[in-house]
Symmetry: C2
Subunit: 194 residues, 2 copies
């Protein structure tokens, strides 16, 4: 919630009922600990999502499940979404190649489903990366904004209930279902760009 800088090694040690020096004994430094934790988290998430991608359900069903599973995984680990956003905001400065590699498995899980659907002729010509962008990142922001939604709602006066997880998931699934419809995606004029 307060980020890499906000988490002091003292507090981390206290939370783990350890002494600060132990952290420096087991890890090369704060950043090394951070990367280790991230690799662990994204390995777990990647496993679950890759399992969905490689199941033998229909691609369209996998896509729906991917969305629901990503939301569920994110809710079960509420600290992950803010971390992802912060890393993006900071240009991924703190990540090393190995951590990137682990994260990319999540991307592949989703793009694999789409590629499969296209190869099977069940999906139209939608770009996997673009659909990944418009699927995963609203989820991450949705998850990360959960704590402040009330604060914003007070100012904006919208009904928070409309943003409950089930409705949000259904909305995303609806968007994706249309996006992958054969002969629906890339087609059509792009509209005014300026």
């Amino acid at each position: 919630m307060r980020g890499f800088e906000g988490a002091t090694v003292d507090r981390i040690a206290a939370r783990a009922r350890l002494n600060k020096a132990m952290i420096y004994y087991h890890f090369h430094g704060k950043k090394d600990l951070y990367r280790t934790v991230l690799r662990s988290i994204f390995t777990t998430m990647g496993d679950g999502l890759a399992a969905i991608a490689s199941s033998n359900a229909a691609p369209a069903d996998k896509l729906d499940r991917f969305v629901a599973a990503f939301v569920a995984e994110g809710q079960a680990r509420a600290h992950v979404a803010p971390i992802m956003l912060r890393e993006i905001a900071e240009g991924g400065r703190r990540l090393d190649e190995e951590t990137y590699t682990v994260m990319v498995r999540v991307v592949r899980a989703m793009t694999g489903i789409i590629t499969e659907g296209r190869a099977a002729g069940q999906f139209g010509p939608v770009d996997p990366i673009l659909l990944y962008l418009t699927t995963v990142w609203p989820i991450v922001v949705y998850l990360a904004t959960t704590p402040i939604r009330n604060a914003l709602a007070r100012v904006a006066q919208f009904d928070v209930g409309r943003l409950d997880p089930e409705r949000f998931i259904a909305h995303l699934q609806m968007l994706n279902r249309h996006a992958v419809m054969p002969a629906a995606a890339g087609a059509g004029p792009a509209g005014e760009l300026s």
Copy 2:
């Protein structure tokens, strides 16, 4: 790029060719300066986007233009997207009510277009807030990831060219066009949720 904590008052002053003490003379502190800048930025962005929303084009066209304009505004101010992501990640701790109010104008610009389209019977029953979430936040992430896209592409081996702004904008416009189609949105079974 390095966030609120990463930007030292010394460097800010140097960049402005001023002395650090001057900043503390004109503002109550670093946070006060930060809020003032954010209010200014979002006022400008809100003006442009509200102008699109209140123009007398058709709602569907406004939606397309909103997407293109948001991307353009974001590109013209490359530092804004990371700031938005970081603020979300930190639970909006640094924002005060006044800053929230200014930011909400951007939300209203988009939701207003959808509400108008629905009232005119041109849009189906899509939720304005949900469509805002799935429209604006992919854009913000897209903008914020521009610097690291190459690093990721190297590991993931995808073609970066597929992510150029025009294609991205067209993809989002396509998604939204389908989402607001009468009798297309909220309709249909939601699929498996677990």
